[in-house]
């Protein structure tokens, strides 16, 4: 009997050691600076809040940490969309002026590989910027670094929360340089193929509610060959 108990204890310790090893895996690479952060091209910057109650609408399966908003919004409980969230939000420029409206669909990715430090989300943005046109942005996001540096400390805290300053890029593809693929739909941006990036700036996180103070930002690199009027309109 004591051998069986020793074996079970060993199994539990082994599993725990492995889990700690995965979480603190030093071989998970930090991609560092995004190529869009050092580009010389014109960049369109769109800011938004990632807090559900700041959005126009946020909904998911209703069982996740982030609660749907408004409270009575239809929830995505059906099996094929149970791992999906939907948000409609106002987009603002650097001066906090309304620039447009964005709809984001996010689904947990089957490509997630925790062993390789990848907690992936497949997402698309639809961006409508009055006077400029519409954009579609497709991307894979990796939340591993955020979970390790913000989520885990929040769990370890006696207050079940985290406060600090965390800034990181979420986009890891599908572009070769880890950027999102952006397509212009209508208006002055029609037909343009661009690259984009979503980043997150977090200041407070709660285990129960998720992000409490956090902002998102979309950066879209406008192509050099674009019509000058389009670039001026998009960056003014």
């Amino acid at each position: 009997m004591k051998y069986i108990i020793a074996l079970i204890l060993g199994l539990l310790v082994g599993a725990a050691v492995f889990a700690v090893g995965v979480i603190y895996n030093p071989f998970v690479l930090d991609r560092g600076l995004s190529p869009l952060a050092v580009t010389g091209a014109e960049v369109l910057a769109l800011n938004f809040s990632v807090i559900p109650s700041d959005a126009i609408v946020f909904t998911n399966n209703g069982e996740s940490r982030q609660k749907p908003y408004p409270e009575k919004v239809l929830q995505l409980w059906e099996a094929p969309i149970r791992h999906t969230s939907t948000m409609a939000t106002v987009l603002r420029d650097a001066r906090s002026q309304t620039t447009g409206i964005g709809v984001k669909f996010s689904s947990l990715s089957e490509q997630t590989r925790l062993l390789e430090g990848e907690a992936l989300v497949d997402s698309v943005w639809y961006l409508y910027l009055p006077g400029r046109g519409s954009l579609f942005m497709e991307q894979s996001e990796n939340y591993w670094k955020f979970l390790r540096q913000v989520g885990l400390p929040a769990y370890q805290s006696s207050a079940n929360s985290w406060k600090g300053s965390w800034l990181g890029d979420l986009t890891v593809g599908p572009g070769a340089l880890g950027t999102a693929r952006v397509t212009g739909g209508t208006g002055t941006l029609q037909g343009l193929q661009m690259e984009g990036l979503e980043s997150l700036s977090a200041r407070a996180f709660s285990v129960e509610e998720g992000p409490i103070a956090a902002d998102g930002r979309l950066l879209i690199e406008l192509p050099a060959a674009a019509d000058d009027s389009a670039v001026e309109a998009a960056t003014e």
């Binding site: 539990l12 310790v13 909904t59 969309i81 999906t84 497709e138 693929r181």
Partner: protein, 189 residues
């Protein structure tokens, strides 16, 4: 006994690694695609939205009865000519398989009608519709971009409003029918 404990640790390490490697952390539920082949090539697939039960949001200025209850549309003048609706999307078997956004906006001389359909297990499509409906009440749009499964496709999407004529008490008001006709890039062959 120490030897057994150490063997347990090794087994625990191996079993956890094998488990994480073998079993997917995320497993999206898939509904089989119901596809037919178009006469001129390409795959045709039909989706629909039951109105009002599949409506998640109607976002537009000045709406007296907000949907969902409690929704506050931004009062910014920039968004006065914009209407965005969010829906659940059903396949031909009437099973919810995704979510979608429809945007209608007057942008000066340009009228914009865009659809984004997101099917979690497959990918997303972005379609610009022609504002003027064609014969039969259809509106036709061109696939501008797609992600994952739809990333390399070309084609079109049609939308049509079909009012309910069943007369049943709990029947929907009608449905928005979306039909996609996509074909692969011939250059890729």
């Amino acid at each position: 006994m120490l030897k057994t404990f150490i063997i347990g640790i090794v087994l625990g390490l191996v079993a956890t690694a094998a488990g994480l490697h073998t079993y997917p952390v995320v497993d999206q539920k898939r509904e089989p695609s119901i596809v037919s082949v178009a006469a001129n090539g390409g795959n045709v697939e039909s989706f629909h939205v039951k109105v009002p039960m599949d409506r998640i949001m109607i976002g537009e200025p000045g709406r007296k009865v907000p949907l969902p209850v409690g929704l506050e549309w931004p009062e910014d003048s920039m968004l006065q000519n914009v209407r965005i609706e969010l829906f659940k999307i059903r396949n031909a078997r009437d099973t919810v398989v995704g979510v979608a956004a429809r945007t209608a906006a007057d942008d000066g001389p340009t009228q914009v009608i865009d659809w984004v359909v997101h099917l979690p297990a497959r990918g997303s499509v972005f379609v610009n519709m022609s504002p003027e409906p064609v014969e039969g009440g259809y509106r036709v749009g061109k696939l501008r971009a797609g992600s994952r499964e739809f990333g390399s496709l070309n084609g079109s999407l049609t939308e049509r409003w079909l009012p309910d004529t069943s007369g049943e008490e709990d029947a929907p008001q009608g449905r928005i029918e979306l039909v996609t006709a996509f074909v692969g890039d011939p250059d890729a062959l």
